[in-house]
């Protein structure tokens, strides 16, 4: 089992938010993450990453000055990583229960304070065998669903080196799901193409 990348700080059935153990160390946008519980495992797609102060309501202030910019700011202020935090939110796309992958929402959200892990390449391969989760993503409100899917497909493609036509298969799945919305489909497909 890999080291966890974060811990759940806010949870719901449809999505969960975790704080990364290391400031700035969030899994990439569009990647698969999981929460392993004794009886079941929740899977999610990272759709939002935010960084801010540890204290809610306390905004970070500007630290740069002449000659000290960007990475140098962190070098000069080693305490920054203690007072800043990174959070990421994952959209739940399914769960595994009784050795079976279910592509609908779990009956309960993953509990608070449980560890969130990044899925390994093998898991990505298996999760992207069936693309039914596309439907969940497309239907989710108030998330950048189109960009999320494009990013996810690009990541999955890297893991699925054994299937050169994965992007095409994913594109066709999208085309089937978005048959009534050609403009949206076109947008996502163009996002996939530019990755080539």
């Amino acid at each position: 089992m890999s080291e966890p990348i974060g811990e759940i700080v806010e949870t719901a059935v449809a999505e969960f938010t975790a704080q990364a153990y290391q400031f700035g160390q969030s899994p990439p946008f569009g990647s698969f993450v999981k929460v392993e519980l004794p009886d079941w495992t929740a899977y999610g797609l990272v759709y939002a990453i935010r960084s801010g102060g540890v204290e809610p309501g306390l905004r970070p202030v500007v630290r740069g000055r002449d000659g000290v910019r960007d990475a140098a700011i962190y070098a000069e202020n080693p305490d920054l990583e203690q007072v800043l935090r990174t959070e990421f939110t994952a959209l739940t796309i399914g769960f595994q229960e009784d050795a079976e992958l279910r592509t609908f929402l779990p009956p309960q959200p993953p509990p608070l304070h449980w560890s969130v892990h990044v899925c390994s390449d093998d898991e990505v391969v298996r999760l992207s065998e069936q693309l039914e989760y596309f439907r969940t993503v497309l239907a989710a409100a108030q998330i950048p669903a189109d960009a999320l899917l494009a990013a996810n497909i690009r990541l999955a493609r890297l893991a699925r080196a054994g299937e050169p036509d994965f992007t095409l298969r994913a594109g066709r799945e999208l085309a089937t799901l978005l048959k009534r919305d050609y403009a949206r489909l076109n947008g996502i497909l163009r996002g996939l193409r530019t990755g080539d």
């Binding site: 050795a99 079976e100 992958l101 298996r126 095409l168 066709r172 085309a175 048959k179 009534r180 050609y182």
Partner: protein, 572 residues
């Protein structure tokens, strides 16, 4: 990955584009082309093509199988169409350089559809399998898989090649013989149609070879262009073998009306035919009405003459010392018509070389020919230089009338005695330019019309070869059992081909796709369902399939013609 792995199932699902049998019983070995989405038995079905089946592979006329829940349906593709899930795709199609977009959209947002007409259905229960396919009485369930028919499917529907099943050709998309049920074929009159140059005579030759080899019927071929008996040239200029070269003389004999022409080709006819004037009846003249440009009154005058002189009517009427005015007085015929009739008979009939004053003078060539037919020998009657329609129609009608009489008598005798007198053998008469014999006017009064309509009962059927089926009487057309049709371009002819065929509308599109050479659509009594075919080539391989005597006819001909020249030197 263990069997319990949750992803294992998913893996299988991901490949579902290739093969996904809906029913566990159906063995779908062929790749799936698409899924049935809607339709009706009457109007045909519509199937959505899978993303990986290209519309360009779906030729109209393709034989496909639909694996329904309880039945297999054997169908023909009758139309191919491009569709889209939304009009937006059509309004904003991906440009040619947008390869990925095109690939994704093809088969999903924009997809192909095929129209399918079920022709036969076969239950998957083992008992029904033995009974063979039946006409469809229902349609497959929604989302049944449409698969390309494989060899096994062709065999299940058409049967295998054997002594009585003759390979006529192969389907366009695969190398599997499609066979004709010969006993069923000769049971009824048949037609070979197609515009000129599409290979009708090759097709006819193939059919004749099949019938001769199997022995299911005896053939009489009225060979207008002398192309069936001995070698003749194909359209590409090659010499192809005639029936007499492919079968021994105990099986096939060639008679001629024109011994000179036969001799010029250094072949020896097996017999010579002459027609006695007293064998020509008014019916024959009526058939030639158009060719002789006679008006109906002239035909009536002919009847009056026949009443007056009986069978000698032509001889008497055309005699030099005939007093026409006196005859008009005696018979009440129309003077001018009678004179015209006389003039034309002299100009066109009595002047024919093979027409003799009477039967005894004509000797027994015709009797010998009929005796040969009765013994089951196949007869090719060559016309030599008499290749115009008039002598052809005259001779064919006279001979066929005689055969008709003999066969009818024999069958009646067989029926009355019921003591084991054998019925006459099945006889198939091949005529070319059939619309001249079987047009609505002629069919009503000539022997060919009678045969086409009812001679099935008397074991005589026709093989009509024609390029203008629309000229043939509807009633006759509807009696034609098996139709083998090469390319036709005239709408009226196409219409005629499908006279009396149910569900013909769908086949019209299939007919329209035939190549101009070596392709034909076969439908009717001798095949379980219509199918477009690539006609089997008439070549060395075919010759050798016919039997040992076809092995080296070249040698045999050379030997025979040498003997012939010694016996009948050219200057004689």
């Amino acid at each position: 990955m263990s069997a319990a792995d949750p992803f294992e199932q998913g893996h299988g699902m991901a490949r579902s584009g290739d093969e996904a049998p809906l029913s566990p019983q159906s063995s779908i070995l062929s790749p799936r082309l698409g899924l049935v989405v809607e339709g009706s038995l009457v109007e045909g079905l519509r199937a959505r093509l899978d993303a990986n089946s290209s519309v360009e592979d779906m030729r109209v006329g393709r034989f496909v199988r639909i694996a329904g829940e309880k039945h297999d349906f054997f169908c023909l593709v009758t139309d191919v169409r491009l569709s889209a899930t939304s009009n937006d795709v059509l309004a904003d199609p991906p440009a040619p350089e947008e390869g990925f977009l095109r690939q994704v959209l093809a088969g999903t947002a924009a997809y192909g559809e095929i129209a399918i007409q079920p022709m036969l259905m076969l239950s998957r229960e083992s008992q029904a399998e033995q009974e063979g396919p039946r006409p469809p009485r229902t349609v497959p369930i929604h989302f049944s898989s449409v698969v390309a028919a494989d060899e096994g499917d062709f065999e299940r529907v058409f049967g295998k090649e054997d002594d009585f099943h003759f390979e006529l050709g192969r389907p366009r998309e695969m190398e599997v013989p499609v066979v004709l049920d010969l006993p069923r074929f000769v049971e009824r009159s048949n037609g070979v149609f197609g515009k000129s140059g599409t290979g009708k005579s090759f097709l006819t030759r193939l059919l004749l070879c099949g019938v001769i080899k199997s022995g299911v019927a005896t053939n009489l071929i009225f060979d207008m262009h002398s192309e069936y008996g001995w070698a003749s040239q194909s359209e590409s200029g090659e010499l192809v073998r005639g029936l007499r070269q492919l079968f021994p003389s105990t099986k096939v004999v060639v008679y001629t009306l024109d011994p000179d022409s036969t001799r010029q080709r250094v072949v020896k006819p097996d017999g010579q035919i002459s027609i006695g004037l007293n064998e020509i009846e008014v019916e024959d003249v009526a058939l030639l009405q158009e060719e002789l440009r006679l008006n109906p009154t002239a035909v009536e005058s002919a009847s009056l003459c026949e009443n007056e002189f009986r069978s000698d009517w032509i001889e008497k009427l055309t005699a030099d010392d005939m007093d026409v005015a006196d005859l008009v007085k005696r018979t009440g015929a129309h003077a001018e018509s009678l004179a015209a009739l006389r003039r034309k008979l002299i100009a066109h009939i009595t002047s024919l070389k093979f027409v003799k004053r009477n039967v005894s003078e004509a000797s027994s060539g015709l009797d010998k020919l009929i005796a040969d037919l009765e013994r089951g020998r196949h007869v090719v009657l060559e016309f030599g230089q008499h290749r115009r329609l008039l002598p052809y129609m005259l001779v064919a009608n006279v001979i066929t009338r005689r055969i008709h009489r003999i066969w009818t008598e024999k069958v009646e005798r067989h029926k009355q005695r019921q003591d084991g007198t054998p019925p006459p053998g099945q006889l198939m008469i091949t005529i070319e330019e059939a619309h001249k014999f079987l047009n609505p006017r002629a069919a009503a009064q000539t022997i060919f019309g009678t045969i086409a309509r009812e001679m099935r009962k008397y074991n005589v059927t026709l093989l009509v070869v024609d390029q203008r089926p629309s000229g043939i009487d509807d009633e006759v057309l509807s009696q034609i059992g098996t139709r083998i049709t090469c390319q036709l371009s005239d709408d009226k002819d196409i219409e005629a081909i499908f006279t009396g065929v149910s569900g013909a509308g769908h086949l019209r599109a299939v007919l329209a796709t035939l190549d101009s050479r070596q392709e034909a659509i076969i439908l009717g009594h001798a095949v379980p369902m219509p199918l477009p075919l690539r006609i089997r080539p008439y070549d060395e391989e075919f010759y050798s399939s016919l039997g040992p005597w076809a092995d080296d006819p070249g040698l045999a001909i050379a030997r025979a013609s040498r003997t012939y020249e010694q016996l009948f030197p050219a200057d004689e």
